[in-house]
Point group: D3
């Protein structure tokens, strides 16, 4: 699978903001006071736990934006699997810049690699089935594009990026529109031909109605494994079927074996613990 | 303890950015297509797990910025403890706005309440000792001020906010400056009289040197409980002592009982799972 | 057809920028010098040619952001058809604010109504066929979301909003990927299940290859009317077919009668003349 | 005539915004999926119609900001006249970057060259007279500085850039100020000695009053060719005379032959069709 | 003389930035900790020295942006003359907001009133002559529009606002262009008919050349009072004459009595001491 | 004493904004019209008065951001003392860029060097005592970090940077909190262990109360020299003592000789006259 890069435009914007947050107006007053301006160092960022890497471009940008004289070599790129001790980045250059950028680089890398690592757990659990693991919009405000990227680094797939790029019709939309068929028709007529339309259903009756109204994707919300199996049979390849609700490392395999196309999880983005990484000077 | 408010200036800035991230250019195409412009609803955000609340101002701002006609009543404010089912916010107003703002509001509230909840666990564990639980700079890029606030909502205290507002001298600074005393002297002469200076030490010998050079705060890094006890005795009330490293819900009580003033944890900000909250229409 | 509203977030951002462009630092030096601060007026914006209206929210925002005391009543909303003399907005309030905001309001309204008007011409020409008129990404930099909205106001439909929300595989992508099937497969595996995939083909052989590889949408580029008819027959309802190239008011009917689903035109956004509107004081 | 450059500060700002509009958060998902990261290409942007070029700096910036490794050679600079087939820019470098930046580059170049081309038509029509062709403030919101530049590329001259850099007294200002002389006096006393003052008049009586009150520039609004001639005679070189209203390619020559100094046209900025340009890979 | 208002757009932008600078991320930690949220106060900003007021809109915006519940009454508006003890603003509302906004409000008001006060000194000194006192571009970066406004509040006039709104040809421009006449001709042909052109001359020979080439305004740089008199005679009302260099409170009267139209001073903006103002609670 | 550098992040932000202010949209219309694009020059910025230099990084950034081809050599860095005629910066490169950036560079350099110079006067006056000269928050809005830096360049020390990085309890805070001890306790419990707490006292009774409640720093406001001496004796090294009020070049020595640790002055930032510097072409 090809892993699309993060656009440099969003990387620079986010890293600049994070550096401003950490530097404030006065900057790194500790480093300026204690480290000579001409000191240089070699250092490395290494994993202290096993996991999957995501966010290398953001970490590189942190060092580059603080001091372009810092040379950064990528030893483990986005998507790589690492063990405790594996070096991710090798650094060489002005000591001040390396120390001042360290925390922002590690905060991005640890947070996103944590998400990638959590994703790999679910992806491994469904190996051999046809189900893809997908994220949701339950992301950390301001970091969605990076968290979606981290999901891909962990072998997962992306759901829509926001309210703007695809239609997702939920229970309240259905109720207000006057039913599943009317809601789907309203969405179809208000959006262009390049927009996919998904609708959430709670049971097999609703599923039939959605299939009759030509939904592109159907979200099977909180259904039992038995019902998921029936839904797959009923669908017979017409729409893409997505299962969500109660997805954990323990339940995901059984859900996948029902034959659904996609299993989505909010947990991999909103609750994945940070991957432990550290910067060491040589 | 007084709980300082978040400045409205930073709240509006962060929520606007999060809304732009979720709305993109095209906006909430699902809601615009399916919900009549004049529909109104009553809804509520409620906890689905027990925990501590943080981020209510951000959730309110999300609804207000999407549509000022949405009336939001705060049922459980920042710092409140909640059980499954407790209502946090009551909402009344245009259905479109409530649905369009829902995810941004929940993403802030779940993320920050997760941090507050994790903090309460450590704070409860040290109850009755003199140790305060403190955060670090290991925060999510772009959200530090809110995560620091969430730590306070959970009963914790804040470490410095960035590189700019206090001095923290670590091993590499000490090495470059030529020793503990020289590093402390360099920091003292380069900063103003309103800046506190902390230095990290690894053992009791370094602690003595730091005390001799009048550090305001001393970080005891990864010391054993035995050494922490000796450090407290040696310090005899001169500097503020902070313990860090290997702080978990299982170890924190023993660390606190050594008599250190502050125990800092990166885990409460970088790895706390989101608190489960949901929005329900009435 | 429902006409989705512009998100207030993007409206305010664009109008603020336009006002800053027109006001510079010194502001409206003419009005400040010649109009008393307490003078009030009634005025109206009226059409001086027939056409379709788009951009009313932007015009209203211009007056409101310059002076919230200006009362603006919408007489003809987005999507309305107007004749010479029809009043679009009625204004009442401080004379200074009305005069200072006038040009920005008219520039938005004239530009977008021009696009809506151009769209209606093509839409009328294909009336009774099953073809929809669609825009492209050939828009004015910085105004795409508004121009796409104007196309909808004129009865047209929207193509993708940018590089980010749908896949469009063109000749160079096909060549680099090693052929139509390989390009489609690469796109499918790199994007999520909510992303539609379109591919551009030049002839019927390519069309067959694209259909075999399950493209969602196929762009028939610069094909003759005869070939378009054959393409429709070959497709037999499998993919959405979009015709582009040489679309003018004279050719569009014949293209539509081939049975293609969508006809896209860059001209309606990049070359539509402004609709003539003026502000008159009563 | 010297052609002042666009300030790099405004170029970078506008192009960054346009790229963010086209890239969104997710970037060019088609190109990332189908083009290998190390592929390089040679390409060129060429005219497909004859016209005048404007906006080359913006097009170059689009490629440079997407990937600094793209080498761009300017074959036809701003102000150049081109025929169908003439190469404007030669490109060499990473294929991904060239494809991703293509649309933004072409949208700027086509829009601005369209304005330059429209301007040349009016400029040619008045050749041999003493009248200059000037633009107005009827420009596309957010792009005024570039459109004013495009007018200069087409041989035209610029009117004021906004409300802030010169005084333009219109009928409503005159009415509120209590007459032409009072309005001119008010403007003179409220502005500094580096500000030019123009006033709009409808007939020869008003013209005499404006001349008596020492206007720097007088706008003769919608006057007949006969009246324009009389105005020129009456003025006798005292003020700069500007004619506006009903300026078309058919009427402009007769207006110019009346001897007015400046003829201003909103059409060249608000309604000029885009110049057809395309990018071709070699 | 009419005193044009500051555009609300620039006021809000500048005050927001200043508040963010003072609040940082954490906000007013002193006030949040010590003042109850529901405490209200009455307070006033009063002059502690005599002078002229400027910047009242900025001070009001500081209070409003921190807390819209603060009621601010303007007792002395921009341009008013005050004595020690005179109340400028009366405040009533939440104590927290008043205290948190105090410093930003006073910093704007003191700085700009200092400039207005310095200007009045020069304006008074030339009273009865025909010379106007003008500012320059020697202003504090980021505050120019407000400092130019303060000059007007003190009875002075404004020179150009930047490099963009008028031409000022200095010695290096003349040398590069090949002489005074050539420089003036180059500027005339490169700029529109709404742009004034000033040229700097050092002696009467250069003055004659500039007059021959129809400069709008001529800067007489560092000339003796005798030469200024000769320049006025030579000019005979043709161009506007501006004297600059060695302008102090002691020299300005003699310069004015030579009959020059404008006397410009950098000192009033770059070196005026702040006017002493304080906020007192009742 | 080490002189911490300004963070490049804040330098670039401030200089970009200043350049945009001076360039507006149209740029340097004089230089573009009169100076050939390929002309190069050598020039220098030199002092025309004696003083202390601050702001060199901002001046360099102004030239670099306008044209990276300008080579700037720093002859006198921040903190250097200069005499009339001393060269501060040597410049070589495109004439256009040097002329266009000149005013922004000089405005920063003159303003900040003026503050550094004013600071040196107070610092010299207290030479040999133990008192440090400190600034306040009475700074120019938007420029505080640079003015604080200029104070350090003049040999002074910095007070807190804003409301956010240290506590300063004044009379109104004390009154609202219910007394000195209560206010100090409230501040201590609401802030973290890295925050210093200062309290303002008016007399020796209050001083004793503040010492009893363990204030870190005590501001002795407007006390007589006699009372300051008593305060120093009473304090006996416990808190840091800061004197403020009526600090002038004439009074500062006597204040310093009382033994206070810090003397703070608003005058050095809000009222220091600009240092006279000029740019000359060779």
């Amino acid at each position: 699978m090809t892993l699309p890069r993060l656009s440099p435009l969003v990387v620079e914007e986010a890293v600049s903001r994070a550096l401003r947050e950490d530097f404030g107006d006065a900057g790194d007053i500790t480093t300026e006071a204690t480290i000579p301006a001409d000191a240089t160092s070699m250092a490395m960022i290494a994993a202290r736990k096993s996991g999957a890497i995501a966010g290398v471009d953001l970490a590189c940008a942190a060092f580059r934006l603080v001091d372009p004289a810092i040379n950064v070599a990528i030893e483990k790129g986005d998507g790589a699997r690492v063990e405790n001790g594996d070096v991710v980045l090798s650094l060489k250059g002005p000591s001040r810049g390396i120390l001042s950028a360290e925390r922002v680089a590690l905060n991005f890398l640890g947070h996103l690699s944590g998400i990638a690592t959590a994703t790999t757990a679910l992806v491994s659990a469904v190996k051999g089935t046809n189900s893809k693991i997908s994220c949701t919009r339950k992301t950390t405000p301001g970091l969605r594009v990076f968290e979606k990227h981290a999901v891909r680094c962990g072998g997962g797939h992306n759901h829509r990026f926001g309210l703007y790029d695809a239609v997702m019709i939920k229970d309240n939309h259905i109720a207000a529109a006057g039913g599943i068929a009317k809601a789907l028709h309203a969405a179809r007529s208000a959006t262009g031909h390049m927009v996919k339309i998904e609708i959430e259903v709670d049971d097999l009756t609703q599923l039939e109605e959605a299939l009759g109204a030509s939904a592109d994707v159907i979200l099977l919300d909180n259904m039992s494994v038995d019902d998921l199996k029936k839904a797959v049979a009923l669908n017979n390849g017409r729409a893409i079927l997505e299962a969500s609700g109660n997805v954990t490392i323990d339940t995901v395999r059984a859900i996948a074996e029902t034959g659904v196309d996609v299993i989505s999880s909010g947990w991999i983005t909103h609750s994945a613990p940070s991957l432990d990484l550290g910067l060491d000077f040589k």
